[in-house]
Symmetry: D3
Subunit: 135 residues, 6 copies
């Protein structure tokens, strides 16, 4: 049970249905997962989040799989079960191997460890890290 009802296709406003049509077209399948079915209570929010996600995850300077791995890393750090599971599934669908998943986990674990060590020590940033990148 979500804190709002999970909408079925027949519950959708015309605006929400149009977004679902686009989700289905983009993914080439009929399945629309629960995340969109709760956002569909607010068609404007639904449309905004979907379109932003689609644009953000499209191929660009980074490939789609790398973007999914980043998504998994953030979701694990935040402890969001829904996001960990859905984006791990998405990463697998985009070709992530089990060995790659284990390495994502190792880096996530390591980063969370050294993040907390740097925050515990309040170590000042080295001058060299404050310089702007060479152009």
């Amino acid at each position: 049970m979500s804190v709002v009802e999970i909408l079925r296709d027949e519950d959708l406003s015309p605006e929400a249905r149009a977004v679902f049509d686009d989700i289905r077209a983009a993914r080439g399948g009929d399945f629309v997962n629960n995340f969109w079915r709760v956002l569909a209570h607010d068609a404007v929010l639904l449309k905004r989040v979907w379109e932003t996600l689609k644009a953000t995850m499209a191929p660009g300077a980074l490939d789609p799989l790398t973007k999914e791995l980043l998504y998994v890393a953030v979701s694990a750090t935040n402890g969001c079960e829904y996001c960990v599971r859905s984006h791990t599934a998405a990463a697998r669908a985009k070709g992530m191997t089990e060995a790659q998943l284990m390495e994502v986990m190792a880096v996530v674990g390591m980063a969370n460890q050294t993040n907390s060590l740097a925050m515990a020590t309040q170590v000042p940033v080295d001058e060299v890290f404050l310089r702007p990148p060479k152009s």
Copy 2:
């Protein structure tokens, strides 16, 4: 000012100096950043964190640049300034372009947004995301 003194080379115990030697050998340069200089108060901890980091970030199923991008994503999510700055610098040193950095940021922003939406709605995980991966 860190909460513990930032140790200079001449302050190091022999055990800590051996780790610094290895850091310098691995990186091919003399510079050792402040993070290691605070951990050096406990040579056992220093050695453990350094060796784990070196092993975790080595090439494997994921390339070193991808691993640095994951590190940046976690550090930004945790709000660790030291880690954001040092790993952004490390990613640049491994070839990250500015366009790639902006895309990492876009994914990190998006993931933090949808993570909080999923946690705010407490949307249940779809059955399909709970199935084990096909082997």
Copy 3:
């Protein structure tokens, strides 16, 4: 199952029972939710948390509904399921509409997104934001 037993009314110490009496009087009903039933293992902690909560959420410069919305926003950001669900229920009881809930979520999502962007970029605070408020 909680990590400590959920105490029934008949398990309560006299001090804890007095707090439960006050909870019931303040809320005008017999129901006492599980959160208080776990804190009741330590009657001093129970009393302190309850009295602080009651004082904090009372009408003041902000109305009680606005305070509940703030509570929901923090709880979603922390990913605390219990708190998201109980304070969403409390907000509804205080008159929150479903449209308002969707807007809370939109702001929470947006804030988490730009928070992580600001932390990823380590953008310095503009001078104007550092000035004390005009009195």
Copy 4:
């Protein structure tokens, strides 16, 4: 120093300049804060974040001041200095009194306290909080 350069007006691409024009029009002033000047390295991201923020914070089921207070609460919870300072300033500009700010803080402190207590005890959600809202 941000991890990317803070762009001045004369550094902007035409697409980024168009967004800055819209920010200035929406706010009725010439000042554009640093957050937008770092996002401006990626005009597509800049435009997306700005337009989403503008839409999210517009009057709706919640008034703009309430939305700013929610933003402050999330930013404080995440420990994002830039966001705390800029949105506290924005809330003051929208009429927040100092008494209201102190009450936001009190609620944020309380919510972070009980969130961690609920997570420490792993208290199960009461049945009544799992029921869908009455329609």
Copy 5:
């Protein structure tokens, strides 16, 4: 610069001054740190937080030093610089050695690492950990 003014002794309301008197009496010295000087804008909040802190940190089933170490661990995890620094100082004043501080850091780093690994894998809780404690 805090987001609210740091109050000097001569700025205090009589109610806030009474709390400062109690802080000074409890600590046996004249120094009152900035945290209380910002809370002093709301004497009710100031009094509540101070009295709760005093009660929470008093000797009980745990000694005061252990409580300070727990405070440091939480503060490091949240990345709160003010809290890390003030509670590290407090722990030293209560007898914490530098070797103990390094061990606190090692545990904090380890816990943040395995926390993120458990959240990344979404590993189910073993039955044995769900059983109530033996009484």
Copy 6:
């Protein structure tokens, strides 16, 4: 269901089995909890995390129970259910009383409250807290 399969003893690689043997020897029992059974997909990661954990939690400048309490405090702050439950169980096995657990919770709640208050106010660190410790 974890995002990767929970490995049974008969699924283990020889390298992973060797680590399980060491876990069993260290703990003096046959039970190996699920956390290790998911890490076992990557024997190198499994070995590294186990050996680091064993070394970190060993008696040193802090006793093992104090270390477990710190672990519980961090895990509660991060909202990691698996870690809260497993380390609460471990702390009980090392002698933690129920009264001590309630005090850990009180400190964790208090620390999360004042952490968010310090981050909400952006109170500057007092000079005295920035001074290096007396040697």
